[in-house]
């Protein structure tokens, strides 16, 4: 339990720092912008209570917002992300068979499940983020292109990160 807490705190700090000091300056003009920090919310353990998940997602978004000067924008997107995560996990994972609660990481859940999970969750996060950022319907086509290309960029970075810290512990 203590180890889980320490790992998540370190992961939070590293991901936030990477996002605001490095990835903020990277992007293909305005079209493709990576938001890797949501990997923190994606990798929270399965057994986390809903309320804690929402609270953590909200504060993660808020921390990013303070650095990006967009208070509430990332927080809203992360809240939606948390909700989609709960639904997705309820639909695809049987919770009964676990002897100890694992993480939803690439090494444990397998490549096919993880990429599906990452793409769906990232898509919803970016959809909310970019549509609230532009805040008008007249740019809907442009916004969708931004969402799709940014999703591709973010998921690519997530896969690179996950493979870099790959530990194979396939669940039984």
């Amino acid at each position: 339990m203590g180890k889980l807490l320490v790992i998540n705190i370190i992961r939070f700090i590293v991901l936030i720092a990477t996002q605001v000091f490095l990835l903020k300056n990277i992007g293909y003009y305005n079209l493709s912008i990576p938001y890797l920090y949501i990997l923190f919310i994606l990798l929270l353990p399965f057994g986390i209570p809903n309320f804690l998940l929402f609270l953590l997602a909200f504060f993660t978004g808020l921390t990013i917002d303070v650095f990006y000067d967009t208070l509430g924008l990332n927080a809203a997107a992360c809240t939606v992300l948390a909700f989609v995560r709960i639904i997705f996990i309820n639909l695809t994972v049987q919770r009964d068979g676990f002897d100890n609660e694992p993480d939803p990481s690439l090494g444990i859940m397998g490549f096919r499940w993880f990429i599906f999970y990452a793409v769906i969750l990232t898509f919803f996060h970016h959809l909310v983020l970019f549509s609230f950022e532009s805040f008008k319907f007249s740019e809907i086509g442009y916004t969708l292109v931004r969402v799709l290309s940014s999703t591709a960029f973010t998921v690519l970075l997530m896969l690179i990160t996950e493979f870099a810290f790959f530990t194979k512990k396939v669940r039984k």
Binding site: N50, V66, L71, A82
Partner: protein, 275 residues
């Protein structure tokens, strides 16, 4: 009552979504009126200090380029020194000129946070109220116009960059005045759009675009060069694409302009309104 409680706890994820989403939306709408009067932005003391620390490290990486640009600017300034002109006439008359009154003073500042990929871009500098920075002052760099001071804290100030949908700068291209905007349909940080130039005027590609006498910057401050003449709009005006002189992504040092006569002008113009 018990059924209601069961219903809520069964679908708790949905209710939590509603609660947190509404909190975020309230924050978003209340604070993001273009980030005005908000302490939760990068002029915040803690965030500002964090950015300053990281910037200290990252600025080492482009020291070479900065040196080059400073050397260039030194050379340019040296050219303007009185000592670099040779007087060829035989008779020398010293004229003490009292007609010239200094109108602008410049404060140098270091950029500690910068963005170019957002829809609305902001720059944070390490000068604030302590150093005499006030809201609404213009900011330039050695290459051209940067933006307008938006929020000021004690030690930091945020600039609304030229790369912001709200920024409008009165610009002059071969004697014709238009307004320079960014972000209405292009989001490329290398280009801006010049509007309100009458369509019958002939503007050449490569013509220099600089600030006009109506802007809050000194007249003839560089902005960029005309790179593409667009089609005419419905209202008989041209849309001209301007290639900016300044590379916003590599910004390190900027100058904040203090217009010494601005107060007098504003006071006079305010009188017109009350009458």
């Amino acid at each position: 009552m018990r059924n209601l409680w069961l219903f809520i706890s069964k679908y708790n994820a949905f209710f939590l979504l509603i609660i947190f989403f509404i909190i975020s939306l309230i924050l978003l709408v209340k604070n993001n009126n273009y980030q005005r009067a908000s302490v939760w932005n990068s002029s915040n003391q803690i965030v500002g200090t964090a950015y300053e620390k990281v910037n200290e490290f990252s600025s080492y990486l482009i020291l070479g380029k900065i040196n080059d640009s400073l050397a260039l600017e030194n050379a340019r300034l040296r050219n303007q020194l009185a000592s670099s002109f040779r007087n060829d006439s035989l008779k020398q008359v010293v004229v003490r000129d009292t007609n010239l009154v200094q109108q602008y003073t410049y404060t140098v500042a270091k950029v500690i946070n910068n963005s170019v990929h957002q829809k609305n871009n902001y720059i944070t500098i390490n000068r604030g109220q302590k150093h005499g920075i006030k809201k609404g002052m213009g900011v330039i760099s050695s290459t051209g116009v940067i933006g307008i001071i938006m929020n000021v804290s004690e030690n930091f100030a945020t600039i609304r960059s030229l790369l912001h949908t709200e920024t409008k700068i009165s610009a002059n291209v071969s004697g014709n005045i238009g307004s320079l905007v960014w972000g209405e349909d292009n989001f490329d940080p290398r280009y801006a759009t010049l509007k309100d130039i009458q369509s019958h005027l002939v503007i050449k590609k490569g013509a220099r675009v600089s600030t006009s006498e109506f802007s809050l910057f000194p007249e003839n401050t560089n902005i960029g060069v005309v790179s593409k003449i667009g089609t005419r709009n419905g209202d008989n005006s041209l849309e001209i694409q301007v290639k900016l002189d300044t590379d916003f992504s590599k910004l390190q040092y900027v100058y904040v302009i203090n217009n010494l006569l601005a107060n007098e002008q504003l006071k006079l113009e305010a009188q017109n309104k009350t009458e």
